[in-house]
């Protein structure tokens, strides 16, 4: 079972990344899920968190996804997010500013702006 997974990351505005990978690790409301080849069909929501794609050569790609879901079916993983950003598309300074802005006006009920900013920074720094 060492064949690759076909992975596609799509945002509302465009297709972000596609290719083959060894594994995908995503964060769902129930916790982290790792997907390898042969995973059963699955449709899950995504949290605002970095999504990790491990390529066949062992290197990692991190994608900051903000709201969306992913589906797994016959070794094809489709990640569908409203907004998804690769590390090179993220402006670190802007992300930092967004984080401090989000922290400043945080009300205890909605943490998602903070989480979104943190995910973005995490991806950019990796």
């Amino acid at each position: 079972m060492s064949g690759p997974l076909a992975v596609a990351v799509v945002s509302a505005e465009r297709s972000i990344w596609s290719g083959s990978a060894k594994s995908v690790v995503a964060k769902t409301p129930e916790g982290d899920v790792g997907i390898l080849r042969g995973h059963e069909p699955m449709l899950a929501l995504l949290m605002e968190a970095p999504l990790r794609i491990e390529l066949e050569d062992g290197s990692n790609i991190l994608v900051a996804v903000h709201g969306g879901f992913f589906s797994v079916d016959s070794d094809t993983v489709n990640v569908i997010a409203e907004v998804a950003e690769l590390a090179q598309d993220i402006d670190i300074d802007r992300a930092k500013a967004a984080l401090s802005r989000a922290q400043a006006q945080v009300d205890s009920e909605d943490l998602s702006p903070v989480r979104r900013a943190e995910a973005r920074l995490h991806v950019a720094k990796a």
Partner: protein
Amino acid sequence: MGAQLRVYRRRIRSVQATKKITKAMELIASARIIRAQNHLKASLPYLTQLVDAVSAAASHASDVSKHPLTAKSVNPVRAAVLVITADRGLAGAYSSNTIKETEALTHNLNEKGMEVVPYVVGRKGVAFYRFRNRATGGDYTGFSDQPSYAHAKEIGEELLKAFMTPSAEGGVDEIHVVYTNFTNMAIQQTRVRRVLPLEVVDEIVDTTTEGGTGTPFPLYEFEPSAEEVLDALLPRYIDQMVYLSLLNSAASEHAARRRAMKSATDNAEELIKSLSRAANAARQAEITQEISEIVGGADALSA
């Protein structure tokens, strides 16, 4: 130089300047159509995935027809109409076509006893309602030619909020979108689409079976659960519908502007042609007159 000739020359220069502007606008519009088309194409994978996921979740969720977004109101009293117009003019009848369609829809809904709350995209539409002192539910301007998903989301959330509010408290029971569908460079049509209450389920199952794949949905394991996935996906579906309408309209706006500017350029060319003919005739008449004056003068002297 004679007065008449001078007037002709001045008019030619002015028409030439106008022609340069319209030609430039035509070229810009053609370049933007292509960009808008690319945006449209780039958003399609997301839509197909979303539609597949929604229908998969819908087919597993316990009772879809009772979902608040799909349930029809028994006695609808108010409807929201999202009308998408241009921010700038010089696009032929583009904006007035959607406004006309909206007026017809408004009339229809009024006859069914529903009050209509317009939500307006584009300065032209906003000006239309403001001039007539008619209240709108929301005005969105500044992005009609290059809409982004963030804009669509803002509108989608606003509409959804209005829909989720009970009609007794000023909420709406139906949401329609009037937009211009971009078929190709030559064909764009004004369309009306009802977004809410959703008819996703039948509609989507149809598209997937006709769409060639025809395979039944895999037995997905849903996380957290089919109902929750559906709850999270349906608002996205609405945002995406709004986004798609905005993109289609933007492409159509550029196409309409290109066409309007092309005919303006053609008209300017024609005008220049007839004006230079008239100017040439005036110049010739002037020369003839001068010759006859000289000859007349010489005759008078020698006589």
